[in-house]
Amino acid sequence: MKPPKFDYLRARNAAEALAVLHQEGGEARVIAGGQSLMPMLNMRFARPAVLVDVMHVAEWQCITDTDPALRIGAAVRQVAVMRHAGLGQRVPLLAAALPWLGHAQTRSRGTLCGSVAHADPSAEVPLVLAALEGSIHLRSRRKARTLSAAEFFTGMMATARADDEVIEAISVPTVRAGHGYAFREVARRHGDFAIVGCAAAAGPDDVRLAVAGVADTPRSVVLPADAKTWDDALDAFAWSLDARDDLHATARYRRELVRRLGRDVCLEAQQCRA
């Protein structure tokens, strides 16, 4: 399987990348680490006229670690974020989730922004953004705008990004005082696409649970702090996700995972509260 024909442009700065996107619109695709887009090209699910490589854009190569969020640029590889000093203290949920994102051999190239752009329903980074209420920074030649995860992810592999926009960064909120975080997922093998992934952020008054792999987009629910009240709420949440049967799991199994894994993750997050 080989990719179809396309032009290739290695952008030297943001303006150059945005100019191509402005000119070509939907015919252009941004390539960063390529770990989601390259399989799509090799299988010819995507046929862009031009690829815009953003990995050499200096403006997008930075991790900015200032409260209230870790801002991760479009050209930052997953492995660089995993090795970011103090990640476990600064964004414990992201530190817990990243080892589940693909394999070492793909994290060496792939970017977080690329994973967000691809918007696979079972992906870990969108899940973390949903759980922490993080944001996605989009830029085009026309304007810059920032969307929440709920606004950005619009469907299965579908997002609110316009054709001429690039995800220039994501902001992942840093640890909040008195909060605890937990992440778990069930997959056939470690590194495979998650059947269900759960992430939770627990505060003094409530717990936000986010779930990936069930609905078309990562979805979240806020539960009260008292675990005794969770059963009905988790059951209602599980049904609200419109789970589907597929090759890997039945809808019923997915709902049951939301109930059980969801409860475990929420409890673990509460126990981790600092």
Binding site: Y8, L9, L41, V50, L51, H190
Partner: protein, 167 residues
Amino acid sequence: MPRLSAEQRHTVQFTLNGRPVSGEAEPRRLLHDFLRHTLGATGTHVGCEHGVCGACTVQIDGEPARACLVLAVQADGADIRTVEGLAPAPDRLSILQECFRQFHALQCGFCTPGILMSLDAFLKREPHASEAALRDLLSGHLCRCTGYAPILRAARAAQERLSAGVP
């Protein structure tokens, strides 16, 4: 770099196993095809071509990566190592390769170049990695012959020999 036309071949240059190399590639040319067909370095094997099997794993700037998910033009200017770069001399295997031989860590050998490149990079970075970490690393590769246990034994043995400084 100007916009490279899909219809033409363009010069791609990088370092391969410590030596500067160059060749001509269309933008759609995958890195493994560039290595094998353009440069004649056929040690890198080609399996699934969509990032699942790990057979084509090479090192790009010191990190293991799937060559089927990288375009040759993206690799321009990079430092690339392939299985051809492991042996210290034409008649000598590296410690890791020697351990693979000794512990029967390969049968058909199709997946071996990729696994060697992953392990080589990983053992350099984390010489005292746990068995669990090695298993996690190997999860990025498919081997249909060995059942992985001999590969793990070879990796552990290489770890010991490398840390003891045994040549």
